[in-house]
């Protein structure tokens, strides 16, 4: 009996679960589901309801008068970029084994990915529709 409790206590205090890998796994599942809805919605609106010929500057400007479509696009952009970048991060971890290679690849990935995401966010947030748009 004494042996059994001595054995168990010898393992020390366990660390709590959580951490980057766990939450990034959860994020991939949640964002994957959300993107399925958002991207399919985007596809239906842009290619089935509206013809590609009808989509021009005015069309986008009209959509961006309010915040609903901006928020929709912003959410889709951020989720898609983070989902994609995290997927690439995991693949790089699988195939690159040298710590130096991993570090360089990670910096390139976050640099390029971060810059593209920032560019997208600026385009969605800063865009000002001309006052003439939306006037019938």
């Amino acid at each position: 009996m004494a042996t059994s409790s001595a054995l168990s206590s010898a393992y020390g205090r366990p660390k709590p679960t959580g951490g980057l890998e766990l939450w990034s796994w959860v994020f991939m599942r949640v964002s994957g589901l959300l993107l399925l809805v958002l991207a399919l919605g985007h596809l239906v609106i842009m290619h089935l309801i509206n013809s590609v010929d009808a989509i021009d500057y005015d069309f986008v400007a009209r959509r961006y008068i309010g915040w609903f479509w901006r928020s929709y696009d912003l959410l889709m952009l951020v989720l898609a970029m983070v989902h994609g970048l995290n997927g690439l991060r995991v693949i790089l971890d699988d195939y690159l084994h040298q710590p130096v290679q991993r570090r360089i690849a990670a910096w390139l990935l976050y640099g390029i990915g971060g810059a593209l995401t920032a560019l997208g966010i600026v385009a969605v947030v800063v865009f000002q529709p001309p006052s003439s748009v939306g006037v019938p």
Partner: protein, 242 residues
């Protein structure tokens, strides 16, 4: 008796610079197993052929190898069910010791890392530690593992990243994590929550296909992933309450 053609990958690190293929034709019954054909090669054609086998009846897991592109036990596969020439290779992802024998040192290191034994804090009761049939059913599937290594060496995530703990070790962890008598969850989950743990699984299902015991390996891995998430959620609720 019929002619059976075999194409076997041979490698002797003391003599060869790279593995090479050799073809053999042996006499065997169609209802014989691949292991019998390998025995025929070794006993009557080329005594230098090296492979592992022990019980020869699908119980010990010694003769797992890649047969016609899939990881199988040579003692469970009938010749009549296979296209000829039967292509036999060592399992992928491990260093080859000789011919079909691979170095399983790291495989068993990973197996030991998940503490595949009952951990119970409480002193043992006077009789046995009781468990209901339903509680036993919860981990019944993963008790079937014979540690042949067919799942881990069929896993592309493991081929790419040898640090990955691998399906076999996760199956072993699952067997104890879902055992109502076991109290070692925290210790095992700590190992499985690392970057080299369960998160490297991409649900490719090669492991499930490869398992000669028909264990739902991918399902077991996902159950461990979900258990970790549930623990993390529980942990964050406890932290918030404090």
């Amino acid at each position: 008796m019929a002619h059976v053609r075999l194409k076997i990958q041979r490698f002797n690190p003391e003599m060869d610079s790279a593995p090479q293929w050799r073809e053999y034709t042996v006499e065997a019954e169609p209802t014989d197993r691949v292991l019998d054909a390998l025995h025929a090669v070794k006993w009557h054609h080329d005594g230098s052929l090296a492979f592992r086998r022990s019980c020869a009846h699908g119980v010990c897991g010694s003769d797992a190898m890649m047969i016609n592109g899939k990881n199988r036990l040579a003692c469970k596969l009938l010749i009549k069910d296979l296209k000829q020439p039967i292509v036999v290779e060592p399992m992928r992802g491990f260093a080859v010791v000789k011919d079909l024998i691979v170095d399983q040192t790291k495989f068993f290191e990973k197996y030991r890392s998940v503490k595949p034994y009952l951990i119970a804090e409480e002193p043992p009761p006077a009789t046995e530690r009781l468990q209901s049939p339903k509680q036993q059913e919860r981990f019944e599937d993963t008790t079937k593992c014979i540690l042949c290594g067919a799942c881990t060496t069929s896993c592309p995530s493991f081929w790419a990243n040898g640090e990955y703990v691998g399906p076999a070790a996760i199956v072993q962890a699952h067997r104890f994590l879902f055992d109502s008598r076991d109290q070692g969850a925290e210790e095992r989950l700590e190992v499985l929550n690392k970057a080299s743990g369960v998160w490297r699984c991409r649900t490719i299902f090669n492991c499930t296909d490869a398992c000669p015991r028909g264990i739902n390996v991918t399902k077991a891995i996902v159950e461990v992933q979900n258990l970790l998430v549930a623990h993390a959620k529980q942990g964050s609720t406890t932290d918030a309450a404090q």
